[in-house]
């Protein structure tokens, strides 16, 4: 019987033991197919370790565990307040283990350690605490109708929730999914991305330590085409939540149709950032930088298309370049001065580079960057921050989501033109507006076809505010009170007080 855990020592010297199995029914087990995933450190292309990958059969077992747990009195009859208390406890445990979790996240994903600890982990803890507070506040309604009917609604859990999360913010994405699902009383089968399978395994131990009854949370690693598809098309999964690319999102939606499971999707974006002539250009450039270069451009809401009023386009471009040169520092993610790590994998790295090539071929101009930048001993999937100008809406780099540190800029003359350009996309996730004109700010915000609009900032998220996409950027909303809707159903109860036939 193999150990199903491994002792690791991270590049920053932190040592810890990491489980490697599939977490089903509060136990770590081997994959029934023997399939594994080997995780690569994207900063130096070296192997970290190998973990179990779930087959369709393992997904079956996880779903079965989730179903038993859902029907078991220990979870089904647990008062809502107590569910909240478990979530508060989980948050505190994560807080205790934050530096190890951040270490794993950085090692596996490549994001700078300071960011993993101070942003990602802080958000994870906050999300769990936020939803802990909601657990016992899900109210139904009493609805006056006639004197012969007593009508009320019950808010009830949806059931078994399949959750497929991406690799760009592994733990934060897990928290966004688990928080509301558990607050509402569901049970979960969650699959991490094959590029970043490690942090969720450490989290699984904390889930067990917190005291969730067995089977309430099941955490799997696996490939999309096997484990992911198995979850999306499972006849006994009541709901699927997916965050990832639009193309896979569409596949998931088709698969979900098999038993009409409830579906929420958070997919891609090509978010516009509009700079009007009266904007504070300095601030606009700083936010624009953060909005595309943060997380090495691997953000679904990256404001990757900058639309600048022609009167300030030139000076804005210069400012943006200056900020890149002065603040963007590529390097070892464990170095506290590093601001940008590598892309998460070789495949992503090659994809981004091919888009840069495409941009060149299509005739756009690179004013900074545009090259790979191996930082760690000549290795690592690093790409230098890149700005394209002279772009046209017909170009691939203008339309398609690149998911790397590459931004395109284009000028506009009028507000209407800016809006037309901004909305001319199949995506609709985020957008940003920079202006000091009060009316324009709100007017433009109302007309942008996106799920989130940032006024005078970009990617300035907040867990208490709903998040999601319109058009092909998604279905449904996560975060805030809205995020609870996806995880509870409304049952109407009509009590007949005397209507006789």
């Amino acid at each position: 019987m193999s150990k199903l855990s491994v002792d690791l020592k991270a590049p920053n010297g932190r040592s810890f033991n990491l489980p490697t199995g599939l977490f089903i029914n509060n136990e770590f087990v081997k994959s029934s197919s023997g399939q594994t995933i080997t995780s690569i450190n994207p900063a130096n292309e070296e192997e970290i370790c190998t973990v179990e990958a779930a087959s369709a059969l393992d997904v079956d077992k996880a779903v079965e565990a989730a179903r038993s747990a859902f029907n078991d009195p220990s979870w089904r009859n647990m008062p809502a307040t107590d569910r909240g208390i478990l979530l508060y406890k989980l948050a505190s445990l994560i807080e205790l283990h934050a530096s190890i979790l951040a270490t794993i996240e950085t090692w596996d994903n490549g994001k700078p350690y300071t960011v993993a600890l101070n942003e990602d982990l802080a958000e994870v803890i906050f999300v769990f605490r936020y939803y802990a507070g909601w657990a016992d506040k899900l109210h139904g309604d009493t609805i006056p109708t006639t004197s012969q009917k007593f009508a009320y609604t019950l808010r009830q859990p949806v059931g078994i929730c399949g959750q497929i999360i991406p690799w760009n913010y592994p733990l934060a994405m897990a928290a966004w999914k688990l928080g509301p699902a558990l607050a509402c009383g569901n049970t979960v089968v969650i699959k991490a991305a094959e590029q970043t399978p490690l942090s969720i395994l450490y989290l699984a131990r904390l889930i067990k330590e917190t005291g969730f009854p067995r089977g309430v949370v099941n955490m799997l690693n696996g490939y999309g085409r096997t484990a992911g598809a198995a979850i999306a098309s499972h006849m006994d999964v009541d709901k699927i939540a997916f965050t990832g690319s639009t193309s896979i999102g569409k596949e998931i939606m088709k698969m979900a149709a098999v038993n009409m499971k409830n579906i929420t999707l958070e997919t891609g974006g090509k978010s516009p950032l509009i700079v009007f002539e009266d904007a504070d250009l300095d601030q606009a450039a700083r936010w624009a930088h953060l909005g595309i270069m943060g997380n090495a451009g691997q953000i679904c809401t990256a404001t990757s298309r900058i639309l600048v009023h022609s009167s300030v386009a030139a000076s804005f471009a210069v400012k943006l370049q200056d900020i890149i040169h002065s603040t963007s520092k590529l390097g070892d993610p464990f170095d506290p001065f590093t601001s940008q790590g590598p892309q998460v994998s070789k495949a992503q790295y090659e994809r981004v580079l091919s888009y840069i090539e495409a941009g060149r071929r299509e005739g756009a101009t690179i004013i900074t960057g545009g090259t790979p930048a191996p930082e760690c001993g000549g290795k690592g999937f690093f790409i230098s921050p890149t700005i394209f100008t002279n772009t046209k809406p017909t170009m691939n780099i203008y339309q398609e989501e690149i998911f790397g540190p590459v931004v395109i800029t284009t000028p506009f003359e009028t507000e209407d033109e800016a809006l037309r350009l901004a909305n001319d996309t199949t995506y609709g996730l985020g957008s940003a507006v920079f202006t000091r004109d009060l009316e324009r700010a709100h007017r433009v915000a109302a007309r942008l076809e996106t799920g989130t609009v940032w006024v005078n900032s970009s990617n300035d998220g907040d867990v208490r505010v709903p998040f999601g996409g319109v058009k092909q950027s998604g279905i449904g909303r996560e975060l805030g009170e809205e995020g609870l809707r996806a995880y509870s159903t409304v049952k109407s109860v009509h009590v007949n007080l005397g209507m006789r036939l």
Binding site: T81, G84, I85, Y88, F126, R129, Y130, A132, G133, W134, A135, D136, K137, H139, F150, L438, E439, H442, R443, A446, R464, E481, V495, L497, G498
Partner: protein
């Protein structure tokens, strides 16, 4: 200046703060007065605590105002929430001490006191969860306007709490007030000042900044009145008798028209139908009046039993009442301890005498229990008529009346025949009876097949002269916020 004293209770020995807690400091009252709190089990003084007078109220209000505009305004809602959940955790950690203080000062059984502490911590934790979820609305009127509402804190809140559930009442008031961003000046009851002061030490440990919570020990006629009529207090919340509630409302009107919420008395009907599960009903009816020694605003003090089961019911009820163990709060099996004070004891005994004099029949009890401490035997009167004092007025002791009724309409009429409207209960196995009768009873809480089960998640408050406003649940947030509408024009001028 430490201002604490060591107190030995039968279960724990601890350090009891005795000062006033103002602006994060422990201080003596400006007039240098103190008053004693009496142990109702043996009628002996426990300790003397410092007394707040009107000047101390002024200082506390200033401290609360300063904190409101300063450190508390800068404290993020989520951080407020964290402090409240931390305070809840501290209550849980200190449960043995808090419960012992409560039993010593109030006289309730230790087992009941522990339940009170657990309920208080759960209440604080519940409101901790609300702190960063105080949402307004965005309302679409026309394309040229952005309309939104903000739910802002009311400001400095005066809170006056009673002695029947000192710590629970403390948490019911402080939880929602702090969650929504207010600061408070809270006066405990003069009969039970101790647990509120100990809880103030836990506020410090929870990281609640100085001036946000101010706890004063003192008397209604001085400190309480000063709070109700203070020109710089934005809102007063009072739980206590209807008579004092009236004076609070008047004082608020005469001063600065501060917002008022009141949770007052009751004379709640407990109605048992023929088709009730008799064994269960008896258990709940017993609990409904004798729990907390009858010292509940919502006590089910008027019991109406349908005539088909009346005889069986009354015999079984008497037998059940005889099983209530009356004795030392710190003894393991005690259910009913002493009444809280000499004054209360005298008042209740006077009502019992009035009942006897009016010709009501004493089915059980009717006398003092033992010869030391304010203990009264659980008492049931029958043969009562609606006009008797014991049927009209709130006794606030382990004394109930029982009468029979024929029809549902009769029961509803009798139940509603009171100036009060705090609570009521219906015992029946018929679904439609339960819903129909609940709909018709004029009471803020109707219990169906139970009594006195209160949850921090479910609103509580009175119809008619039992109060104004609702505490607990999401509804309490409305007591501590004021709505500001912002209408932002997104177009040019309308008029030339």
């Amino acid at each position: 200046m430490s201002l604490t004293t060591k107190i030995e209770t039968p279960s724990v020995t601890y350090e009891q703060p005795i000062g006033l807690y103002i602006d994060g400091q422990w201080v003596k009252g400006k007039e240098g007065k103190t008053f004693e709190t009496i142990n109702p089990t043996n009628e002996k003084p426990i300790v003397a605590v410092h007394e707040a007078g009107p000047d101390d109220v002024d200082i506390a209000v200033s401290a609360a105002r300063k904190a409101l505009n300063g450190v508390w305004a800068d404290t993020l809602p989520s951080a407020r929430g964290r402090m409240l959940t931390k305070l809840a955790d501290l209550f849980d950690e200190h449960i043995d001490t808090l419960a012992a203080i409560e039993s010593l000062d109030n006289g309730k059984a230790l087992s009941m006191a522990k339940a009170d502490v657990a309920a208080s911590s759960a209440c604080l934790r519940y409101y901790g969860g609300w702190a960063d979820k105080i949402h307004g609305k965005v309302i679409d009127t026309d394309p040229e306007t952005l309309n939104y509402t903000r739910h802002e804190p009311i400001g400095v809140c005066g809170q006056i709490i009673p002695w029947n559930f000192p710590l629970a009442m403390w948490s019911w008031k402080i939880g929602p007030a702090l969650a929504t961003g207010n600061t408070v000046v809270l006066k405990t009851a003069e009969q039970t000042p101790l647990s509120g002061l100990y809880a103030a030490t836990l506020c410090e440990k929870a990281g609640i900044p100085a001036g946000v919570v101010n706890i004063l020990s003192g008397f209604g006629k001085t400190a309480g009145a000063a709070i109700a009529s203070h020109m710089d207090v934005d809102k007063v919340a009072f739980t206590g008798s209807t008579a004092v509630g009236r004076t609070i409302l008047q004082a608020a009107a005469k001063s600065n028209l501060k917002k008022v919420t009141l949770e007052l008395g009751g004379k709640s009907p407990n109605i048992v139908f023929n088709d009730a599960n008799i064994e269960d009903a008896i258990s709940w009816v017993n609990f409904g009046i004798f729990f907390n020694h009858g010292q509940c605003c919502c006590a089910g003090s008027r019991i109406y039993v349908q005539e088909g089961i009346y005889d069986e019911f009354i015999e079984k009820f008497k037998a059940r009442t005889a099983k209530n163990v009356v004795g030392d709060p710190f003894a393991k099996d005690t259910f009913q301890g002493p009444q809280v004070s000499q004054l209360q004891y005298d008042r209740i005994m006077a009502y019992i005498k009035a009942g006897k004099d009016a010709g009501a029949k004493v089915e059980t009890g009717g006398e003092r229990h033992g010869d030391k401490g304010y203990f009264i035997q659980p008492t049931i009167f029958s043969g009562v008529s609606d006009d008797m004092k014991i049927m009209q007025e709130e006794i606030f002791g382990p004394v109930c009346s029982i009468s029979k009724f024929k029809t549902e309409d009769e029961a509803i009429k009798a139940g509603n025949e009171t100036t009060y409207g705090l609570a009521a209960a219906v015992h029946t196995t018929d679904l439609n009876t339960a819903i129909r009768v609940s709909n018709k009873l004029k009471a803020g809480t109707v219990w169906v097949n139970n009594y006195n089960l209160i949850s921090y998640q479910v609103p509580f408050g009175g119809f008619k002269e039992s109060g104004i406003g609702r505490e607990l649940g999401k509804y309490a947030l409305a007591n501590y916020t004021q709505v500001k509408s912002v209408r932002m024009r997104l177009g040019s001028a309308l008029f030339g």
